[in-house]
Amino acid sequence: MTNPNMKKPIDFPSGVTLFPSQDQAIDRILNELKQKCPAQFVLLAEVSGQIISALGERGEINLVALGSLVAGDLAASQEIARLTDQYQNYQLILREGPKTNTFISEAGPHLVLFVRVDRETPLGWARLIIREASRQLSEVVLTPPEEVAKLDLGLDDEKLSAMFSEGLDGIWKR
C-alpha cells in the first residue's frame, strides 16, 4: 500500500534506483520465494537485463549473459502479447525442461524474475508463489523509502569525466 505522505520518488527517464532498505526487502522476498516454491535458483534483473540479485544453485551459469537473455525473452513475450491483444500485467513465461522447469515473470514495470524449480514442483503452486513474489517486488521498487539519501555521483562533471576516461583507458588493450 502506498503511503500518501511518503516522499515523491525521484523520477529518472529510465531505470531504477535501489536504496539499502529496498535491497534488504528484495532479499527477504527472494529468500521467501526460494523456500516456499521451493526453487533451485532465483535471479532478479532490471528489465534491461542488469542483474540485481541471484540466489541458489547457479552452477556454471553465466549470470550476466542470463540476465540479458531473460530480459530479452520477457520483452519479446510482452510484445507478442501486446500484438495479439493478450497482454496483462505480471506476464509469466513457463519453459518445461527435462529435469527442471523455469519461469520468467514480469515483476512490475522495472523488474524481471527468473525462477528454476524441480520437475516435481507442481506448476500451479510455483506459478502462484512466483506471481505473489512478483507483486511484492514491484511494490518495493515503486515505493521509495522514507529517507531518500542524497543522490548524486559525488563529483563534479569534469572530475567524473576524467575518472571514467581513466577507467576506460585502463582496461583497453591497444
Binding site: P13, G15, E46, G49, E79, L153, D157, F164, I171, W172
Partner: protein, 198 residues
Amino acid sequence: MHINWQLRELNLKIVYYGPALSGKTTNIEQIHARIDPAHRSELVSLKTHEDRTLFFDFMQIELGRINSLVPKIHLYTVPGQSYYEASRKLVLRGADGIVFVADSSPERANANLVSWQDMETQLESYDLSINQIPIVLQCNKQDILGALTPAAIKYLLHNYSIPTSTAVAAHGEGVFDTLKMITLNVISSIQKQMVTAQ
C-alpha cells in the same frame, strides 16, 4: 540505468543502432577483443543461420571503482535489417545512450537516413526525442573509396550538432574513441539528471 546504493553499483545501457551491415556487431566484437578479459563478460549473440543479428549482441564492461561506485556498462546492438523493427524497439528499452553507426559508403546514404528516422520513431514510442538521450554518430567505413565525410552524413541526417566520431571498425580504428565519447556523454547526462531531480 540502475543504481544499487547497497552494492554501490552503477549500471548503464548503451545501444549500438544503425542500418544493416553498418558495423554495429563489428564494434562490439572489437571491444570484446580489446578489453581486458577480467573486466568484461562473454559476448552473447543471437544470430540467424546466415550469421546476421536476429535479436541483439550483448556484453558487459566493468570499470574499476570510481568514487566508491562500481560502474558496469552494458553494450547492446540492434538487428539492422528493416523487418526486425519490433526487436529494435525492445532493445532500445531502458537505453541510457545510443551510438548510431552510419555506413559511410555513398550508396548506403539513404539506408542511414531510413535507420535514423526509424530510431526517432522507436524513441518516440518511449516518449523520448533524440534531444533527450545522449547520441554519438559514428561514421564507420571511412576507408572506403569515396566515403561520405562526417559533415555530409550529418547534413543527410539533418543533425549538425551531434557528437561525431570516425571509424574503420573492422580494423578497430575509432571503436574505443566512440565508446569513450558515448560513455562520458551518458555520465554527464546522468549527473545532470540527478542534480535536477534533487
